[in-house]
């Protein structure tokens, strides 16, 4: 008897599971009124999204303040804070002060979604700024889209980010422009046989490499070799030896500065002398310390920003930045963070009412806004149409070499 019971308790476990799955099915009918009731509710309250109440306007920010990509997150955060402080110093919006609610996602896409949910549902922010890395932006964007809170990404360049919905914007160009510029530039420089060395771990790098290869082939060039690496690797010599064997005119390394310096050094060590090409992932004050002299005469495409460009907008931004953060030189990410916040602030001034749905329309209307990283006009795909700038590395400086407008590369 006793043993029989023991056996049947195993059966009991099965029964629990079976009944639970049954319960799950049963739930379908039960939750129907609930489901519709809920969606009815949301249409009434969510028709205006998050609404500003009280004296402060909350703007959310999520970024990689710690973790692998923390330099990107921290740079962007500096720019955003500067813009918010300036707006508050100028009296805020209609007498209301702006408040920035910054959340850290630890450079993890899993956390990006959670913190954005927190921003949107708990903090009731009216707009969200973030993130630098496209993969994390794509993780969090559906939350904003669903809650009807506009999200402005400062520097996610993957084309898919803004395709998620009509509440997702960006103030930078996309990879399908940047990579094409890089290819056009390579062609113009006479690099007809280019090796592409991409980081398989990064969406950005992979897409950049593919788009570059397509454009260069279309122009009549050739891809010499296509080895890959993974960010975090420290030894690239094996792959670089493959590249050396293919004797290219140049090597495209569309990765982040954290690896590019090491790659350049090791390339020179094994006797590769051709120039390296790259994208906006190179932009960092740590690029040169990492590379030493190995990147002399190399080129990379970047956002239209350099702290020594003779633009009055940039001059005043650099001055304000250095006053707020003594001893620091702003980079493109600081500038884009600043611009992303500025676009929202300008839109708030134009917005018909202080709720997130009206704000979305105002942001979508952004035309010819003079940002520090170029003029920002948001197109129907909610991307910014901007110029790209190719820099040449000379000594310890990045020198602007050539700029490309979208029309110049046939876009």
């Amino acid at each position: 008897m006793n043993q029989q019971r023991r056996k049947s308790s195993l059966l009991g476990a099965l029964l629990v599971s079976a009944a639970l799955f049954g319960g799950g099915c049963k739930d379908k009918e039960e939750s129907k009124p609930n489901g519709t009731g809920k969606s009815g509710e949301t249409t009434t309250t969510a028709s205006r999204g998050n609404v500003v109440t009280g004296d402060t306007i909350k703007i959310g920010e999520y970024g990689s303040l710690t973790g692998d990509n923390s330099t990107f997150g921290i740079s962007t955060d500096r720019g955003i804070k500067l813009a918010i402080e300036e707006a508050n110093a100028a009296g805020g919006i209609n007498g209301k002060k702006l408040e920035l609610v910054a959340e850290d996602d630890n450079s993890k896409s899993e956390q990006a979604k959670t913190v954005v949910q927190k921003l949107v549902s708990s903090e009731k922010v009216i707009a969200v700024i973030g993130e630098v890395a496209s993969s994390r932006s794509m993780m969090a964007a559906p939350v904003c889209q669903e809650a009807k809170v506009p999200m402005v990404s400062p520097s996610s360049t993957n084309p898919k980010v803004t395709a998620i919905g009509d509440y997702i914007f960006r103030v930078c160009f996309t990879d399908d422009f940047q990579a094409v510029v890089a290819a056009q530039f390579a062609w113009d420089q006479g690099f007809k046989n280019v090796a592409v060395f991409t980081d398989v771990k990064s969406d950005y790098s992979k897409a950049f490499g593919e788009l570059f290869a397509n454009k260069l082939k279309a122009l009549g060039g050739k891809i010499a070799a296509e080895p890959t690496y993974q960010s975090g690797d420290v030894d690239f010599k094996a792959q670089l030896a493959t590249i050396k064997g293919a004797t290219p005119d140049a090597i495209l390394v569309p990765g982040y500065y954290t690896e590019v310096g090491t790659i350049a050094r090791q390339a020179r060590e094994i006797g590769v002398t051709v120039p390296l090409l790259g994208g906006d992932g190179w932009e960092s004050d740590q690029l040169i310390p990492g590379a030493g002299t190995a990147l002399e005469g190399c080129f990379f495409t970047n956002h239209y920003f350099a702290h020594d460009l003779p633009d009055p907008n940039i001059k005043s931004f650099v001055a304000a930045f250095q006053k707020a953060y003594p001893g620091k030189q702003p980079g493109a990410l600081d500038a884009l963070g600043y611009d992303a916040a500025k676009v929202i602030i300008e839109a708030l001034k134009r917005s018909k009412s202080l709720d997130s749905v009206a704000l979305r329309d105002a942001i979508a209307d952004t035309k010819g806004f003079a940002g520090v990283s170029g003029k920002i006009t948001l197109d129907e795909k909610r991307n910014a149409r901007k110029e790209a700038l190719v820099f040449e590395i000379k000594g310890k400086e990045f020198k602007p070499k050539k700029s490309y407008k979208p029309e110049q590369v046939g876009l």
Partner: protein, 341 residues
């Protein structure tokens, strides 16, 4: 007969509680807290399922995230890749409707569980010949290999991650029913296993493998069984994770995740189901609670310091081998109602 009625009563009661709780929670608390609850439920499931391997059977696996990943990717692959092919001939699988969503999730759940279980079998059969540290290393290695294989599968996005995955669970506002339902199943399974003759074999393997062998227990079989069941449940958690998160990347299943799950089991008390359950919930909720301005930067240091101090001052975990059991508590209140096994 009384026994059967009692069991059915428990099951019905559980379902009712879950449904009511779900409605109360979904309607009244913010989305952020729901998502924290979802993660708590998932990690508790993972911890309890690993407890089957590490705690009850006394093996030493630190690669649990690999099976979690298998479940998540297989589940995602069903919804995003296979379902669209099948849906033409089987229109009932159309998502967006109540029945379609739940049916799809159920199929994904079954597929994910089975595949993770099979992977567990593949991993377990050769590696469970090893013991102790070596087993730990091999499971860690397999976990990493699974992740790198996924990293190199372009069809599921590779390093870019598998996005988007249709949000089946949240669509009708009942993610918690599925997630906590799974948790209840895992807990009930573990608990009933411990009470059964089969379970005694598992415990015997934990206490002394050689003695168990001598007593006629097929130790390899027991170990592999535990491993397969544990992996299968992890896979089920993975399926739900994929459909709640709507996007997964291989990095979500790296060594750190495995280590966190192992930590939960050890902190909760190796072998204690309720311990793993509570540790799973606590260790997921704690970092979120610490997410305020004051401790933000230091939370990971504090977390790891506490972990070490805890290991040194209470090596057996919070509960050791003991359980907190509701029935015993109820029995103390009055000896009726609960069908006594």
């Amino acid at each position: 007969m009384r026994w059967l009625l009692g069991r059915i009563g428990v099951v019905v009661l559980t379902c009712a509680i879950l449904l009511v709780a779900n409605r109360l929670i979904i309607d009244n608390i913010k989305e952020y807290y729901v998502s924290v609850l979802v993660l708590c439920g998932l990690y508790a499931t993972l911890a309890v399922s690993l407890n089957l391997i590490n705690g009850i059977t006394g093996q030493f696996s630190i690669g649990h995230a690999g099976f979690y990943a298998v479940g998540a990717y297989v589940g995602g692959a069903w919804t995003m890749l296979i379902r669209p092919l099948v849906v033409k001939s089987l229109p009932i699988l159309q998502t967006g409707t109540q029945i379609g969503d739940h049916l799809n999730l159920f199929i994904a759940l079954v597929l994910g569980t089975v595949c993770a279980g099979l992977t567990g079998l593949l991993v377990g059969l050769p590696s469970l010949r090893l013991r102790g540290d070596y087993l730990a290393i091999v499971t860690l290695g397999f976990g990493e290999v699974i992740r790198i294989v996924i990293l190199n599968m372009d069809v599921v996005g590779g390093p870019r991650g598998f996005t988007p995955i249709t949000e089946l669970v949240n669509n009708h506002g009942i993610p918690l029913v599925w997630i906590f339902g799974l948790l209840v199943v895992v807990v009930a399974f573990s608990r009933n296993l411990l009470k059964s003759a089969q379970g005694l074999k598992f415990l015997a393997v934990r206490e002394d493998e050689i003695a168990a062998d001598a007593m006629g227990v097929n130790t390899t079989r027991v170990k592999v069984t535990a491993f397969v069941i544990g992996s299968a449940f992890a896979g089920a958690a993975g399926v739900l994770y994929a459909h709640c998160q709507t996007g997964i990347t291989p990095d979500s299943f790296d060594m750190n995740t495995s280590i966190i799950i192992t930590t939960m089991v050890v902190l909760g008390g190796t072998g204690s189901i309720s311990g793993s359950l509570l540790a799973g919930i606590a260790l997921t909720a704690l970092p979120e609670l610490l997410r305020n301005d004051f401790i933000k930067e230091y939370r990971m240091v504090i977390f790891s310091t506490l972990l070490v101090v805890f290991m040194l001052t209470r090596p057996q975990g919070i509960f050791g081998h003991r359980e907190i059991a509701l029935p015993r508590f109820l029995r103390r209140l009055g000896r009726k109602g609960e069908p006594n096994p």
